[in-house]
């Protein structure tokens, strides 16, 4: 049942991915899509497919999966339904680093932001873990430490934005979150980080199951709390830091998808994680395609469409089903 659902989800994802390549300002027939990807001949459509649509779709796939996995791990780790990767301060850390890069170091290219964003995310997640109490960390302390640090960083970001109008002008577009900047080099740069993070997340599914029962029971079941926490935070940093670095802080994908998935699969992380990894890119790529269709020939940023489409669906599900509590 659950495996059939997973197969069906993968099929849906495949269809959306093909649509992602075919649909846009220039419609491309499916056979051309095939040729562009696998038998590049240099035709107009081929160029669009190979240099624009294909990397963009690929990026949407891996970033979507990364955000879904990161959100799932965060909610399990903090045992808090309101936790998204941003709760660890990762989005704020990345944003703070990017705004510094723009304002103080004069970095203007998107590829330049990437490494700043990543570094910011990494530094902040380590800081949250240390402030959250390393060994004596509890879910509530981690969440609070992350939120408190976010508060501080947001203050910093706002201050820079308000004092440097040029930075605000750049930031307001980065903050929205977009897949539009995708190129093959970006994808290949970021893919290894996301891959390592993804494997890590899937590996800790079992101990995360134990953590869901509470610290005492987890210990009784032989789960190594500290190690699991460290690995989980490492996974989240790689996944969410990488995704944020290339696409900007796309929030809410990692927050909403795990809730929907939990309603489908029940509480077993070994199912929740793969489902999230498949359904999140469905939402993200679907939103990306939709954003290109509704605002043709321009486009709506994927961050906006994700939330505008995802929000109502989410509320509908919340109302209809009895949502599984964490």
């Amino acid at each position: 049942m659950r495996s059939a659902g997973l197969v069906a989800s993968v099929a849906v994802l495949a269809v959306i991915a093909v649509l992602g390549i075919a649909v846009g300002a220039k419609q491309i027939p499916l056979d051309q899509v095939w040729h562009g990807v696998f038998h590049y001949s240099g035709s107009d459509s081929g160029v669009v497919v190979r240099d624009v649509r294909f990397p963009r779709t690929l990026l949407g796939l891996i970033v979507g999966a990364a955000l879904g996995l990161a959100g799932t791990v965060m909610q399990a780790l903090t045992r808090n339904p309101l936790a998204d990767p941003g709760v660890l301060g990762i989005n704020a850390g990345a944003s703070a680093a990017v705004v510094s890069a723009i304002s103080f170091f004069g970095v203007t290219s998107l590829t330049g932001y990437v490494w700043f964003a990543f570094a910011g995310a990494a530094v902040v997640s380590v800081a949250v873990y240390v402030l959250g109490g390393t060994r004596s960390a509890t879910p509530v302390r981690l969440a609070l430490a992350g939120t408190a640090l976010t508060a501080v960083l947001v203050g910093y970001i706002n201050a820079v934005n308000l004092m440097d109008t040029a930075a605000l002008d750049k930031m307001r577009f980065w903050t929205v979150g977009s897949l539009a900047s995708a190129t093959m080099p970006t994808v290949t740069h970021i893919a290894p980080f996301l891959a390592v993070g993804g494997v890590l997340a899937l590996l800790i599914a079992r101990p995360l199951n134990a953590i869901a029962l509470g610290d005492d029971q987890a210990r009784a079941l032989g789960a190594r709390l500290t190690r699991t926490r460290v690995l989980a935070m490492l996974a989240v940093t790689l996944l969410c830091g990488g995704a944020t670095a290339v696409c900007g802080p796309i929030v809410y994908v990692g927050l909403m998808v795990p809730h929907v998935v939990r309603a489908i699969t029940g509480p077993d992380m070994r199912w929740i994680l793969p489902y999230s990894a498949v359904l999140s890119p469905v939402l993200l790529l679907g939103a990306d395609v939709l954003g290109r269709v509704v605002a043709r020939p321009g486009e709506l940023q994927v961050g906006i469409v994700t939330a505008v489409v995802g929000g109502p669906v989410f509320i509908y599900l919340v109302r209809r089903r009895r949502m599984a509590q964490l």
Partner: protein, 396 residues
């Protein structure tokens, strides 16, 4: 009215016969926590930490009794004093600095005409707006966190702040409206969002978890609208919108004070009246219901009041972030008592906001940065510090 004052170590003061002795014993326990007297009685983790809190009861012969938690009362009074002191310091700072003495004199009717003008017309309303907005955010945040049973359950997270922002940004971006129009937009946006979330989360009552999840969904959509509006704005409007969304006290006058004061005067007592039943709500719906708490009514009334407080405060100063989130957490860490800590949270909010405004003026010069920049830094930083220092205690 003859009152007998008894104090004892929590409920641990058996009968109040020997109040003096008991009070002495309680005082011997260092600041709320000491080592357990019976570690063998064995907690699951065998740490045997005890937490003795001093509760004082004031009782009259007529059967009336009031309960004071010594530490919470002390913290409350301290916060009140700090809030007032910060207010006076804030009135005294600016292009025309005044000493606290001069401020006090001017407030009580002294001072020359110039000082009168500066204090009464320019700076006092700004400080009052700051105090009221902080208190409103603080107490509303405590309500939200108690009802959602989640320390992250604040109006910024559950979509109410975003609702106000959408309202205000529509006015800024599409109508280029003035301050008053923006405030109206914020109130409309906030209240409409509140009603929508209530209606969507309502299913034979407001269930805490469903309320949280619906809030997440709503917050996602509204945030997307904010981002969209930001990309549609020209750079002047975008700057104005960012300033508004950060939250600012610049140029606030009596026009902002009176409506907010009226709302607070009505709703803060309402929320405080619900403080005791809200405390019962922490133990789960069933337990609260069994104790005679009308769970749904308490939740609905307290939340409605909190939503209106947040909307009014937002209209006056913008959706100053993190005050509603951090103030209740700071308050409960200082009082070390469970429960929503409504009054300490309100006072803490007021302190945070006014102290942030004062530091902002000190550090960056008058009106350079909106206060919202510093509230996050101050509240978040203080919370981090508390988290780091209480690490050994390991207590939330």
């Amino acid at each position: 009215m003859s009152a007998t004052v008894k104090s004892g170590k929590d409920a641990g003061a058996m009968s109040g016969k020997d109040a003096g002795v008991k009070s002495g014993k309680g005082a011997g326990v260092k600041s709320g926590e000491g080592t357990g007297k019976d570690a063998k009685a064995g907690g699951a983790r065998g740490r045997g930490v005890t937490a003795a809190r001093r509760i004082t009861a004031v009782r009259t012969k007529g059967g009336l009794s009031l309960r004071f938690d010594a530490r919470a009362t002390f913290v409350g009074l301290l916060l009140l004093a700090v809030a007032l002191a910060a207010g006076i310091a804030l009135i005294g700072s600016g292009d025309y600095p005044m000493t606290p003495g001069e401020v006090m004199a001017t407030l009580t009717g002294g001072g020359d005409a110039g000082q009168q003008f500066i204090v009464q017309d320019l700076r006092l309303p700004r400080v009052l707006v700051g105090l009221l907005v902080g208190a409103a955010f603080g107490i509303a945040g405590a309500v939200f966190q108690t009802v959602s049973r989640n320390p992250l359950g604040s109006p910024d997270v559950l979509g109410f702040a975003q609702g106000s922002s959408v309202g205000a940004l529509v006015v800024i971006v599409y109508f280029q409206g003035g301050t008053f129009a923006v405030a109206v937009g914020a109130v409309v946006g906030g209240v409409v969002t509140g009603l929508a979330i209530f209606l969507l989360a309502w299913k034979r009552g407001i269930h805490g978890y469903r309320f949280v999840l619906v809030g997440i969904g709503a917050s996602a959509m509204l945030y997307a609208m904010v981002l969209y509006l930001m990309t549609k704005a020209n750079i002047v409007e975008a700057t104005r919108a960012t300033t508004w969304m950060t939250g600012s006290l610049n140029g606030r006058d009596w026009d902002q004070v009176w409506p907010l004061a009226a709302v607070c005067a009505v709703l803060v007592p309402v929320v405080l009246l619900y403080g005791r039943p809200l405390r019962m709500l922490e133990m789960g719906d069933d337990a609260a219901y069994a104790l005679g708490v009308r769970v749904d009514r308490v939740r609905l009334v307290a939340l409605m009041a909190a939503v209106v407080l947040v909307a009014s405060a937002t209209a006056a100063a913008g959706p100053i972030s993190f005050v509603a989130l951090t103030a209740p957490q700071l308050a409960r860490r200082l009082t070390r008592s469970p429960g929503p800590n409504l009054l300490p949270a309100a006072l803490m909010g007021a302190v945070l906001l006014v102290a942030a405004d004062w530091s902002s003026q000190r550090l960056f010069g008058a009106d350079q940065l909106p206060v919202g920049v510093l509230t996050g830094v101050l509240g978040g930083g203080y919370l981090l510090w508390l988290l780091a220092t209480e690490r050994k205690a390991g207590r939330i």
